[in-house]
């Protein structure tokens, strides 16, 4: 419950305060006409095409899309692991395309990154791995020791400093990755499929850690994932990429509640429950008998509230059976659908307006239980 209200609160805060925060706080990303074309012996590949995007300070921004859609390419232009072919990348208003090595090193201390396969140095201990960003930055040893301890504490690995990465579990390795990314106190954290190699339970723990960091440190997080549940659980806004183009973008509840693009619908498909088989095969297009039950789907896209008392009132005396219910609470809004079977005395039209969308799926005999 606390988690849900936190999401609701944060979601609302981002909606309202985003433009102001973008100006005030550090950690904004702006992409202007961003394009990336890879040229190799095999030919040219257009990975990104004219992407315009604003990521606000302090938000958790998700990027989804099919394999090869250009997600990693986009993320990697933000810390210039990839040089854009066209367009600009602005971090806190500063164009990063012209940076020399010194400028790049400074930029990368403000933009941390974690990876799907953790990418920890096997020849160094956990402590040395986490200390490396500060060591190469030339900080004094005492300061390094203090901050490494702090970072390890933040990710819950205080006792593990002397271990080598090969001795750690996947979840612990990713925690080391996070500590290493955070030790230079960045404003932005980039996550490229950071939980893809982890089991569901560990994924949950890492997501909680990321959300916790986001709230405590006010860090902007940009993450790529193939798991829609990750977006649903921690993201404020989401971007859908399709073949290097921006398909759609918006608050998670909006994109998930009312997807506008085929690519989005395809990605969200696994979250959809189909009508139960036994019902689907008996469904008829039109009413043949006055005693038939209408099967009605009420869609919720985050605006209407699924008010059960109201539904019951509209059904009058007739039976009102719940056939299928799939309501997710995203950023404090009801997203999904419920499917109802209405008694013969209830007109489907009576339900118009109680949800964001209403559809009569068909009719079934009254005889079934």
């Amino acid at each position: 419950m606390a988690g849900a209200s936190a999401i609701l609160h944060r979601g609302a805060a981002v909606d309202a305060a985003a433009p102001a925060a973008a100006i005030r706080k550090a950690g904004t990303v702006r992409l202007e006409g961003l394009g990336k074309t890879y040229v190799s012996a095999a030919g040219k590949v257009v990975a990104l095409n004219a992407i315009d995007l604003d990521i606000c300070a302090g938000e958790i921004f998700g990027i989804i899309g099919r394999s090869g859609a250009g997600k990693s390419s986009l993320l990697r232009t933000i810390n210039r692991l990839e040089q854009p072919s066209s367009g600009r990348v602005l971090i806190d208003g500063q164009d990063i395309s012209g940076l020399d090595e010194t400028g790049l090193v400074a930029l990368r201390r403000r933009v941390g990154m974690i990876f799907q396969h953790f990418n920890l140095l096997s020849a160094k201990t956990v402590r040395e791995n986490v200390a490396l960003p500060l060591r190469v930055a030339g900080l004094p040893a005492a300061e390094i020791a203090r901050r490494v301890e702090q970072a390890l504490g933040l990710v819950g690995l205080s006792g593990k400093g002397e271990s080598y990465p090969s001795r750690l579990s996947g979840g612990q390795k990713q925690r080391v990755g996070i500590a290493r990314a955070l030790v230079s106190r960045p404003e932005i954290l980039l996550c490229d499929e950071a939980t893809s190699a982890l089991d569901p339970e560990t994924t949950g723990a890492i997501l909680r850690l990321l959300r916790d960091i986001n709230q405590r440190l006010g860090l902007t997080i940009v993450l790529i994932t193939h798991e829609m549940s990750v977006i649903r659980e921690i993201c404020d806004r989401v971007l859908v990429l399709e073949r290097g183009e921006l398909a759609e973008e918006g608050p998670v509840w909006q994109v998930f509640g009312a997807p506008q693009h085929d690519a989005t619908r395809a990605l969200l498909q696994p979250l959809q429950h189909a009508l139960p088989e036994d019902l689907a095969c008996r469904l008829r297009k039109d009413r043949r008998d006055p005693q038939d039950h209408a099967i009605v789907e009420l869609g919720f896209a985050g605006l209407a509230v699924p008010d059960l008392a109201r539904l019951a009132r509209l059904a009058g005396d007739g039976p009102l059976r719940l056939v299928l219910s799939q309501i997710d609470r995203i950023q404090g809004r009801a997203i999904g659908k419920i499917v109802l079977a209405l008694g013969p005395m209830t007109q489907p039209d009576a339900f118009a307006g109680v949800s964001d969308s209403m559809r009569v799926l068909g009719y079934v005999d009254s005889t079934d239980g």
Partner: protein, 218 residues
């Protein structure tokens, strides 16, 4: 049985071999590792891409590796005189030994360096490492087990090559075996030298393997 004189001779030969092999192995490491690093970082996809120079150095390395050691020993005489100031003795053998071992070791080290996961280099870049930091903190430490294994192979093959150093009067175990064992039919000397060489090579291989295992358990 061995005469006291022969024992002395063997002892001297053992030290000569040890000096020749260890000094030239030291040179091979000192020059071979930078060479290997250069070949990797200047190659295609490396962060200091310099294709022309990379190819030129690659050809040079291959050229030296193509020449048999005994030929190199003779062909390098002018160069040896320039570097060591002499063309006979232990120091005169060290020059061609080092020249032949360096490209050999460099290629082996290069393979280990190439096997370092590019994701690690990327991670290092993402935390603000400069090029030199990446060589020092990522490439070399991560490739170290492979480099040490390759160094072991290099040293063993150098012990073999040093047997030909007698050609420039450098002595060493191989020289004794050929001069006394082969040319004067002293089978005992031959067998003793073979036994010493086997022990020496085994000791090198054992130490190398142990070091690699130590490095890998981390």
């Amino acid at each position: 049985m061995l005469t006291a004189q022969m024992v002395d001779r063997l002892q001297q030969a053992f030290w000569d071999t040890l000096v020749m092999v260890s000094v030239s192995a030291g040179v091979a490491v000192a020059l071979g590792i930078p060479l290997a690093v250069f070949l990797v970082v200047s190659g295609p996809g490396g962060f200091l891409a310099a294709p022309r120079l990379n190819r030129a150095v690659g050809w040079l390395v291959n050229g030296f590796r193509a020449v048999p050691f005994i030929v190199l020993l003779v062909a390098l005489i002018p160069f040896t005189r320039l570097v060591a100031g002499t063309t006979i003795g232990v120091w005169a053998a060290i020059v061609p030994l080092a020249v032949s071992a360096t490209p050999f070791f460099a290629r082996i080290a290069e393979v280990s360096l190439r096997e370092v996961d590019p994701g690690l280099v990327e991670a290092a870049q993402s935390i603000g490492c400069r090029r030199w930091d990446i060589v020092r903190h990522v490439l070399l430490p991560e490739a170290l087990p492979g480099i040490v294994g390759g160094f072991t192979i290099t040293v063993v093959s150098m012990i073999g090559a040093s047997a030909m150093a007698g050609a420039v009067g450098a002595g060493g175990l191989g020289d004794v075996a050929i001069r006394y064992g082969y040319q004067r039919f002293d089978t005992t000397v031959m067998l003793v030298v073979i036994a010493i060489l086997i022990l020496l090579v085994s000791a090198v291989q054992f130490t190398g393997d142990l070091a690699v295992r130590r490095l890998k358990v981390r």
